[in-house]
Structure formats: C-alpha cells, structure tokens
C-alpha cells in the first residue's frame, strides 16, 4: 500500500510540473499579450512606446520565456504568484476572495446532484428496459442538452422578474451588512436557489445515467444471479451486491467531479453575477493576465491531482487487487 501511494504521489508531482510548464508555454504562445489588451482598452488614445516598454519590464515580459518561467517559479514555491497585470493586486488575494463563492455554489449543486441522481440511477437499473425507465432516460437526455444560459435566463424571467420571489443576481442583498447572522444565512440561501438549480440539473442527469449503467453492468453478471438464486430480496441484491460492485466507476466519476467544485462555471457565474473562479479565469485569459492564469492553473491542477490521488486510494480500499500493483496481476 505504501509503495503504491509513493508511486502515485511521484506521478502527481511530475504531472504538476508538466502542467505548469505547458500552461506557461501555451498562454505565452497564444498571439496577443497584456500590452495589446491595454492598447485595445485605450481606444484611440495613444500608448507611447516608452510606456509599453515600462509595462513589459514591470512584468518581465522583456525577458526570454524560460527566464520568465524561472521568475514565476521562484515566486510560486513560496506561494507568491505575483501581481495581476490588470489591477496589480496580488494574484493570491484575487483567487482567495473568489474561491469560497465558487466552492459554496458547486458543492451544494454537487451534493444535490449526487443525492438525487444516484438513487434515481439505482431505480432505473432495476427497471431497465421498462417503459418508465425509457421515458426517464429520454427526460434526462433532454435535461442534459438544455443550454444552461437559456435555462438560467428563463429561471430569472419567471422567479425574479415576474413572480419576484427570488433575487435576480448577485450573492447578497444591498442591506446584507446590516442583517443578523440568521438573516444573512437566509439571504445567501435565497441568492443560491437559481444558480444551484442551473448547476444541478445537467449534473443530475450525469449521476443518474452513470449509476444506472454501472449497476446494470453488474446486474448482468453471474454472481447476481447466484445471489438472487439463494433467495436474497431485490433491494438487498441491489444495495449489497450490485451497488457495491458498481462503486468503482462511481469513484472514477467522483475523481472527475471534485475538480469542478473549485473550477467554476463561466456561464452560470456570468449570468447570475456569482463572483467566482470561472469568471476570473475567463477574464484573465481574455486580457492575457499571465500571472492570474498561472495562479489559477496551479490551484486547479493541485485539486485535480489530489482528487485523482484520492480516487486511486479509494480504488485500493474498494478493490484489494489494485493494491498489489501490476506485477501481481
């Protein structure tokens, strides 16, 4: 188990370096740099050559690429990701102030999607082939293919503009600062409803279908027939025998989903003005704000790798064969 873990950890560290080098190279290779962003924003106002040179120098853009990377790396080992080219505030601060918003929204959506989606998946596995299961499958595919920006605007239209039941956008009401903690909690909850629905409905479909297909596969196998034959009830077979064996693909799904908890969604964040990571990433790329892009890359890369590591450990826990390593198979 320990050697298995060490091996995985080593891979993760190497992958991490690979990701930072590749992202650094990519973002610099893409045509356009922060200067061209400044020029674009200035309109017909002239930005003289000496000013452009000064900005380049400030952010080391006048150095060769490998040297720029070393500058960045030197800061990054002490968790200093430099200052944003846009507003010169520390990248670390900019990310830290947006992470909680994204995490909060995505975590609630994730819990909802999993707690509704997995039972539905189990249910449809038992009804596989029945008309009701087919109908629900079609329903889920429909749900999954609805464009989220459209759903979001419709939800707004109904619940915020016409019915005036829920706030339109943002994370807090104007008088948030004057509220009691209980009121603040309620206010935040009301602001969360529409974005959470928008985030959940498509994920729900993924969880349901994923669970269903994993369990269906297991159900077909001989040991399930054996379990049935020895007289176990349908629910017992489903939960004790089928679902446990279907856990492996679900762990994979978990490993894939966790990084989304912090990576944010540009569309939902933009429409509901949920001030999170997705919007920050999007703006940083458009404005070629290299330090911010790199800072966000590190955060997402670390979480993704940790999630992968977690999934690997869970595999080993769930299935002893994994622990033994490839040679023993």
């Amino acid at each position: 188990m320990t050697s298995y873990l060490v091996r995985r950890l080593l891979y993760a560290v190497l992958t991490f370096f690979g990701i930072t080098v590749a992202t650094f190279a990519l973002i610099h290779i893409v045509p356009g740099d922060p200067i061209s962003f400044f020029v674009g924003r200035a309109g017909a106002t002239n930005i003289p050559a000496e000013m452009r040179a000064a900005i380049r120098h400030e952010f080391h853009l006048d150095e060769p690429l490998p040297v720029q990377y070393l500058y960045w790396f030197r800061g990054a080992v002490t968790f200093d990701f430099g200052a944003s080219i846009l507003d010169r505030r520390p990248v670390r601060e900019r990310i830290a102030e947006k992470l909680p918003a994204t995490f909060q929204l995505n975590f609630i959506a994730f819990l909802l999607a999993a707690s509704i989606g997995i039972p539905i998946g189990l249910w449809s596995a038992t009804r596989s082939g029945h008309l009701s299961e087919r109908a629900s499958a079609v329903g889920f595919f429909l749900l999954y293919s609805l464009p989220s920006f459209w759903v979001a605007l419709l939800l707004m239209q109904w619940f915020a503009v016409h019915l005036e039941l829920l706030p339109l956008f943002g994370m807090a009401s104007n008088d948030y600062a004057d509220m009691t903690p209980a009121q603040q909690f309620g206010d935040r909850a009301r602001h969360l409803v529409l974005p959470v629905i928008t985030m959940t409905y498509a994920q729900l479909a993924i969880f349901a279908r994923f669970t269903k297909s994993a369990v269906t596969e297991v159900i077909r196998q001989d040991f399930i027939t054996a379990a049935r034959a020895k007289g176990a009830g349908t629910t017992a077979v489903l939960l004790r025998h089928a679902f446990r064996n279907a856990l492996m693909p679900l762990i994979t799904l978990l490993g894939i989903t966790i990084p989304y908890l912090i990576s944010g969604s540009v569309i939902v964040e933009q429409i509901f003005q949920w001030d999170g990571i997705g919007l920050l990433y999007y703006d940083a790329i458009l404005s070629r704000d290299y330090p911010t892009v790199m800072g966000l890359t590190v955060v997402t890369a670390v979480v993704t790798l940790l999630a992968g590591l977690l999934a690997d450990i869970l595999y080993a826990v769930a299935d002893p064969r994994v622990r033994l390593g490839e040679g023993a198979r």
């Binding site: 356009g32 017909a44 000064a54 900019r94 503009v161 458009l286």
Partner: protein, 521 residues
C-alpha cells in the same frame, strides 16, 4: 443604481484603465476643467485659467472653497503632484500620459496656495481639453505607500461623493458629501453593481435592480415598442464619438492602390446596412470625423454604393476574370483576402457576411477570420493582416494624429496600423495639433477630411448610436454632443430620482406585495 459591465480595475484616478473606471472616478474626483454639454471646457477644480501666447504655459486659479473628502482644502501643490505623477512614465498612467508627456515637471509649480503654473515643452491645441483627465488627488494621502497597488479600493478626492466601500467584483457604494464645496447633486447614494451579462442586466432593468444600463442593439430594437416594458423603462439612444470602419493594410499588395480601396468602399451597401442591421439607429460616415464634431466637413460626400463603378475601377487597375471562375485575377493571382473581425459582437459577424456577399458579386473573395481582442490587436500592430472590421472610441478633441500620421506606424507608438502615409495630410496634422486659433484649425481639419476621404485608408462604415435603457424614475438624463449621458458637466451629476409615492406603478404594486407576504407566512 448603476451598472458596470466589467468591474473597474482601480479607483486611483491617475492610472485609470477603462471607461468604467472613469464612470466611477467622476463621482469621487474633480478634474481641473469640466466639459460642458458641447464638450467645451468650463470651470472644474479651476475657476479660471490663462494660456500664454505661445500656448506653453497654463495658469490655473483653483476654487478656494474646494476640499477633499477628508476635509482638507485642495491646494495648488496637490495639482502639481498629480501632474507630475501623470507625466512620470513609471506611474504608467496609460490613458492620460500621451497628452502630458511633454510636461516640464521642473517648471510646473505652485505660485501660491491656489494658483498653479503648468509648463509644457511642446504646444498642443487639445491641451486644455485634456486637463479634463487630470483628476486631482491629495498628495499627503497618495504619497504614502505603493502608488500602483495601494489605491485600488480606496479613494480620497474632491468630488461630490465619497467612497463608502468597494467590494471587488461586486459593487461600489458612494455617498453624497455633506461638505461638498460646489452645488450638491440630487441623488444621495449611488451604487455601481458589476453585471457582466447583458441578459442579466436587462432583466435587472425590468425588475428595478438597475436604473440604467447599456442595452445590446438587438434587445433594444426588439423591446423598445413593447408596451409592458416601456411602462417602466425608457429607451434612449445617442451618438457618441465612435465609428466603425474597415481598416485596409495600405502596405498589402492588394490595397496599396487607393483606387482599389475606393472600389472596396463602393461595394459596401451602407444604406442597407443602416436599414437592415441597425434599423435606422446608425448613420453613414464620410471620413474620420463624426457630424457632432466641429472638424467635420459637411461638404465631403459619403462614398455611394456602386458595384458597377467598383468593377470599372478594378478593371482599370488590371483586375479581370480571365479564367472565368467568378473571381477576379491579375497576373494569375485571384483577388482574395482575409477580413479580421473580433469575437463577441453579433453585428460584426452580420456586417462581415453582408460585405462578403456584396464583394462576391464583383468577383472578390473574402475570407472572414474571427479573433479575440488581444490576438487581433497584436496582429494589427504588427501589420500582419490584410483588412479588419473595427471601431474607434475618440477623444473630445478631434486630432487624428495617432491614427493617420505616418510617424505613428512601425513602432512609433501610434495606431496608424493601416500604414497610411500622405505628405500633405502629415503636414496638416502636424500644424493643426499645434494651432491655437480655432477657426484656422477648423479649416485645416476640413481639408484633412477631404484628403482622407479621397485616399480611403479606411472604409468608413457607420456611426452606431449607443443604446440605453433607463428606469422611468430617473429624471434629468441628458445627452451631450459626443459623450452621451456621462463624463460631461453636469451629465450624470444632474440626475434625480422621482419619489416612489409619485410613481403610480410602484404604488399599485404595493398591495400585491403585501398579499404575497401574508400568503407566504
């Protein structure tokens, strides 16, 4: 409740980045001179000024009552400090540096507590107007700490409002100053909300969460006659100093010849563009100046849509369809080029497709290339493109030096990325930007207008009006000649809000709210 379509980058008025930064700064700071409704200079922080005959020395008398929001009087030394900061390249005052790069920092000084003498090494006709961008800051506050980093979320200025808080990415709250030294504005609290998405912003206008917002052309045209919506929202539009154009790379073998550029312009169906694409909310352009500017020469005609004439011009330049494949050719090469457009604008794409279809009729093949802003601008600056559909936002002064003077290409720091070069035009632009006599200057620009229209370095397409939605409770909204609702005086500082009681709409909705509240509990 106002909208910021993107969050501001800083509250420091010297290093402002975008127009949104300026929208906010306008409430917190006072410029040395304000611009009136026709964009002429009027007293701001300065009550009066004198300009020396050589146009190099400006003497400003500051308003003696002026105070900063921390209670301290505004002194001449603060003005000097602000100007020196702007003129220091290390400050990176991207938006204003150009107009103050010839400031003589050593000779610029405070004569007494309320008099400043500002000295330049070079005369600039637009200089007085550019003092509108000098938003004065108190030296004792801003000299402490890192100038670039430490004042992005705090502000001390001499404007009519003071900052309550800036919640980065979310909102900015401003409170009217009780001790303001000029006529106080009507509105007590101004809240800027960051709302990036246009769809959300329009919904917010409808629900009353926003009182004003720019509205995309398609939404504006669709909803402006919807009676349900016009009950609460006022749809307005105005022309700002802005136009759309096709830039032709004058160094590209295809577009070196001004006859070819004219032929291209003759293929753009301006009237159809205005009618179909903008439903009449745009107007044709004949050259580099908009009809609202004094530099605009009304005698210069708009290039008429004339595909047959264009074909003749192309034939005269040697372009014929010799192999009968429907595309013109010359020396075995087809007439084919890339048109760059920027992502994010539906009307740009529609326009490009219209141009593509029209040019195909005369045997010219256009390939539309979409790029994001930063990428497109880098290609343009490097001259690595053939043509591009773009737009300019202009300054209050019409000087087009940075765009069309031949010194402003090739790393000259300017934005003449079409590589236009005409000796007479260069001479006029050189002289006009130093000429202090307004009537002489006007004659020069009228002549320049003719030359540029003749040479067609651009195809001037249209000036599209800015489209706005305003809650009907907002009153006193007026448009200036060129700056629209904002940034002139009084502009947005003259707005006022009707009391809720006088609004029958709101009164009628109150019982409904009460009923719902009781039903919910």
């Amino acid at each position: 409740m106002r909208r910021l379509a993107t969050d501001i980058s800083t509250l420091n008025p010297v290093v402002l980045g975008s127009r949104y930064d300026r929208y906010v700064a306008n409430y917190l700071f006072t410029p040395l001179v304000y611009l009136d409704r026709s964009l002429q200079p009027i007293p701001g922080l300065a009550d009066a000024w004198e300009i020396s005959d050589d146009g190099l020395t400006y003497r400003f008398e500051l308003n003696k009552k002026a105070t900063f929001s921390n209670g301290r009087p505004v002194r001449a030394a603060d003005v000097v400090y602000t100007l020196r900061k702007i003129a220091d390249p290390k400050t990176k005052a991207v938006q204003v540096y150009d107009a103050f790069s010839s400031l003589d920092s050593a000779k610029t000084r405070a004569i007494d507590e309320h008099t400043v003498e500002v000295v330049f090494r070079q005369r600039l006709a637009a200089q007085l107007l550019r003092f509108n961008d000098v938003l004065v800051i108190p030296e004792d506050v801003y000299a402490v700490g890192d100038f670039g980093k430490d004042f992005t979320t705090s502000a001390v200025g001499s404007g009519p409002y003071r900052l309550v808080r800036r919640d980065v990415g979310k909102e900015i709250v401003l409170q009217r100053r009780k001790d303001y030294w000029r006529e106080r504005p009507h509105i007590e609290t101004v809240i800027f909300k960051v709302v990036n998405d246009h769809g959300t912003a329009f919904n917010a206008l409808k629900s009353g969460d926003l009182d004003e917002s720019v509205v995309p052309s398609d939404t504006w045209l669709r909803e402006k006659n919807n009676p349900q919506i016009t009950r609460t929202i006022d749809f307005q539009r105005f022309y700002s100093l802005n136009y759309n154009y096709i830039a032709w790379n004058n160094r590209d073998p295809l577009f070196k010849d001004k006859r070819i550029r004219r032929a291209m312009s003759m293929c753009i169906p301006i009237e159809a563009v205005i009618r179909d694409l903008f439903q009449g909310t745009a107007r044709a352009m004949s050259g580099p100046f908009t009809p609202d500017e004094w530099a605009y020469n009304p005698n210069v005609p708009v290039v008429r849509y004339d595909p047959l004439g264009a074909q003749e011009l192309l034939a005269a330049a040697g372009w014929k369809d010799s192999n009968r494949d429907g595309v013109l050719d010359k020396d075995g090469k087809p007439f084919r080029f890339d048109l760059v457009i920027m992502t994010g604008s539906a009307t740009s794409t529609q326009f490009a497709q219209m141009a593509q279809a029209e040019l195909k009729k005369v045997g010219v093949q256009v390939d539309i290339v979409m790029m994001d802003g930063a990428m497109a601008i880098q290609r343009l600056m490097a001259g690595n493109y053939q043509s591009a559909y773009l737009s300019w936002d202009l300054d209050a002064d019409p000087d087009p030096y940075a765009i069309f003077h031949s010194s402003q290409s090739d790393g000259g720091g300017g934005q003449n990325f079409v590589f236009y070069a005409n000796a007479e035009a260069d001479r006029i632009m050189d002289e006009a930007r130093r000429e202090l006599d307004p009537s002489k200057r006007k004659d020069m620009y009228w002549r320049l207008h003719e030359i540029l229209a003749e040479d067609q370095p651009y195809t001037w397409v249209v000036q599209v009006s800015a489209k706005w939605g305003l809650n009907k409770r907002v009153h006193g909204v007026e448009s200036s000649r060129g700056f629209g609702f904002f940034q002139w005086y009084p502009g947005e500082l003259g707005w006022w809000i009707a009391k809720p009681q006088s609004d029958p709409q709101r009164a009628a909705s109150q019982p409904r709210d009460a009923a719902r509240a009781s039903a919910g509990s």
